[in-house]
């Protein structure tokens, strides 16, 4: 019961803060432009990619994508530490795990809401062009499931960063660094010459780019699913312990 009370308050807190609306506005601007660019590219001539693939595998998409997680998560714990509201919160009969999960759940909810308008792009595209390329269930589901999986992990990283500090900017920088590191591990293949096959395989395993490009073509691979789910659980577990340690640190 407490979990839902907390979750409710977390979700409200998002939509009552101006930061959320600013993030949403610019994110929509970016994804809108990205969609436009994708459609424009397809217009130039015959192409082997679908609009879904074109949408989820561009620099515009990745750039905005990596940036939103620090913005979504930086306030979660840091703000409560800084304002002191953590004191009434934690002297109420709630479990630490409930608080961590509610905060994570709130962030995840906001993240999902952030992506909802993008569904409209594809709906409009299919309607206007009468091409069912975008509507094909495989790439479509694949891309959105991957979006959710990667998002879950990156949000957990943001949660951990926020639980570590009372300064939102520091939290944002920490999570941005870690997320970008994870992201660019996948790009190593492009930068390093003479990569051994073993290393190539290893980085491919980490590569969000690769995961997304596969999924948006409709391939289902269980490895990234396990990878992201297990990392998410692990990072949330760390967050829980960091959060608990405040009783001794203060």
């Amino acid at each position: 019961m407490n979990f839902f009370t907390l979750l409710n308050r977390e979700i409200r807190a998002y939509f009552l803060s101006p930061v959320a609306w600013v993030v949403m506005f610019f994110f929509l601007l970016l994804t809108g432009f990205n969609f436009y660019a994708g459609v424009a590219a397809l217009n130039r001539g015959p192409s082997e990619v679908t609009v879904v693939e074109a949408f989820f595998n561009t620099v515009f998409f990745w750039f905005g994508f990596v940036l939103i997680f620090p913005l979504i998560t930086m306030r979660l714990f840091s703000e409560e530490y800084k304002m002191g509201t953590i004191e009434p919160l934690m002297t109420a009969p709630v479990r630490d795990s409930q608080v961590v999960l509610a905060k994570y759940g709130g962030a995840l909810f906001f993240y999902i809401v952030l992506w909802l308008p993008s569904l409209l792009y594809f709906a409009v595209f299919t309607r206007v062009t009468r091409l069912e390329a975008a509507g094909a269930a495989g790439p479509f589901l694949g891309a959105y499931i991957m979006l959710l999986l990667i998002g879950m992990f990156y949000l957990a990283v943001g949660c951990l960063a926020s639980a570590l500090t009372r300064n939102q900017i520091v939290a944002a920088i920490m999570s941005f660094t870690v997320i970008t590191l994870f992201f660019f591990t996948g790009l190593l293949n492009f930068f390093l010459l003479n990569v051994t096959p073993a290393l190539r395989e290893l980085t491919a395993y980490f590569s969000a780019l690769e995961h997304m490009s596969e999924a948006s073509r409709g391939f289902f691979d269980s490895r990234p699913v396990v990878f992201y789910l297990s990392l998410t659980v692990f990072v949330l577990f760390l967050t829980f312990h960091v959060f608990q340690s405040r009783r001794w640190r203060n």
């Binding site: 407490n2 907390l6 009434p88 934690m90 009969p93």
Partner: protein, 313 residues
Amino acid sequence: MIKVEGLTKKYAGITAVNDLNFTVEKGEIVGFLGPNGAGKSTTMRILSCYLSATSGRASVAGFDVASQSREVRSRVGYMPENVALYPEMRVQEYLEYRAALKGVRGRRNRQRVNAVKELCNLRDVDQKLIGALSKGYRQRVGLADALLHDPDLLILDEPTIGLDPNQIRQVRQLIKDLGKRHTILLSTHILSEVEMTCSRVLIIDRGRIAASDTPEALAGRVRTAGGIRAEIRAEPGDLEKALAALPGVRKAEVEAMPDGWYGCVLRTDAEHDPREEVARLAAARGWALRELGREQVNLERVFAEITQSEELR
């Protein structure tokens, strides 16, 4: 209701609470008195399960604060020193949320929220954003929050700090009324507050209990600590000798004032009040006397007296 044994809390480098022992019985209103940094807030934070102690044990209503923390928290209403609230919420909304968090749901939620709004005079502002409230109102929201789940024990950390004199009076009255149904532990560094509201006083100094007494007894000590003040015009050497010779006077300090009068401070034993003798002496010697009364004491002085003299422990 509260049992504290050997409680110690160390922060990096400093010991905030040092081997603290005390008990509070059900129904008492206990005042926690001490200078800033004496360990009052730390102790209260441990009792409300916000911090963990470095060593020692504390229990509330028979539940251990470390191992049965949620049982403790559901029985304690805690109002922190700096009442921190979510500025984007409305008062009504905030109280409903807090009540739900404390397990007060459904119809009882509405009842309790209405009851505490009534108690803390929050009716007029219940639709206001908390961010727009004055300090006094925020303080009252904090107190209302502590009362929501009708807790057995109220822990109030400096509940009247930052209020105007009218509000202070109201809050003190409220605390007195609440004391009829709840056990209360409140901290303050205002002596008169303790005298007005508490049935017992714990004086804490450098992380230890320096004294435990009734407010009346404490007030007695304070008067001793304060002494008698008089302004007299007379021959200074004569004056000091004569005053020091009065019964019960331990020490007489005489200081010249710019207008030719002498300000005198008499330190006395607890049971002596030599004001009458001073007046009689002045009359007999033909001295001019323009002021005679108890010296206004500040808390610093009381602490100095109590914490420095071993016999009072």
